[in-house]
Symmetry: C2
Subunit: 216 residues, 2 copies
Amino acid sequence: MEVKVMKSIVGVNQEIADANRKQFEKKGIVAVNIMASPGAGKTSLILALAEKLKNKADIYVIEGDIASTIDAQKMEENGIPVIQINTGGGCHLDANMVQVAAKDLDIRDNSLLFIENVGNLVCPAAFDLGESIRLVLASTPEGHDKPYKYLGMFESADMVVINKMDVKEYVGFDNEIFYKGLRSLNEKAPVFEISCRTGKGIDELADWLKDKVDAG
Amino acid sequence: MEVKVMKSIVGVNQEIADANRKQFEKKGIVAVNIMASPGAGKTSLILALAEKLKNKADIYVIEGDIASTIDAQKMEENGIPVIQINTGGGCHLDANMVQVAAKDLDIRDNSLLFIENVGNLVCPAAFDLGESIRLVLASTPEGHDKPYKYLGMFESADMVVINKMDVKEYVGFDNEIFYKGLRSLNEKAPVFEISCRTGKGIDELADWLKDKVDAG
């Protein structure tokens, strides 16, 4: 497994993001920027979707973390091509990191690229990576008030996934309050309620992403 | 309730933090900088401790959020003097914000000041606020791998609190892996295992903080 230690390049980010987007579109690659709090279940989500889409779509993963290769190791154990980016303290991925990693991954045309951003509901929202889809992953134990506090993140989401629905009742997560906050910022983003633990909702989400790849 | 919208002042942070620390020490104020992921339970922890310490210690709260006054409202409903700081996008509190808020709170000598930082396991670790104690709050649904990924945060902690121990078994949180990661970075920080939901461990933690105030 390859590990890259890279520093952010500020300023040129948008330019590189635009180039990434152009390249992804040209090759029919659907790049999903997955953003969430630490521990919301980003890695579990990718593993669950990769399992469902096995033999249906080519899947690649870019793992972003401040440090460690824990998540990338899980991908490798499941036979998924992956590159780990360590930001060395940086609180988000940037477009340059993604460009370098995507080149090294040598991604086939018409495939699905999951980009797991650094666990953080603040900084990643401000950095375009050139992704096709910005997926914000919430989880019920974090509470239903997150859209009221992390405006930039939920405002910029193309889709929202709520994980850990299996513990919803126990942790007192109120769907109505969550949706009300989300819809005040973001009228259109589709919402998927899932549980990576029980498998709830994974089929629908996998089908939805597969449709995007087929349409690309 | 007062709401302050403030921008970070970079560079002069350490100087102001040192001044804050000197002022807190002079007045015997124990200032606890509470840092955690979004939804780990920072606000619930403060409310639980305030309830236990009622009539035993004077308690004040500075609430840090990017936006909203949700947490400060909960403090006011419980009769706790509070100031809400909205960072307007900034991913951490800084020493200047705390200095201004602490002045406005007009804190009595020999009291306990809880500073709830922005929900984020990255940025707040790098900013000294002049606090007496850096409290890092983890929670079992986030997973036992967090000390391996958020090095700066766990390395700099004076104490670590693990919340949501009541769902530990269900979410598959492994104490041994967590402690091993933590101790590789931080040999000394005491660890408290609690549940704000069931009340487990709150007494011990409240007593420990009360001792700090009495010793101050």
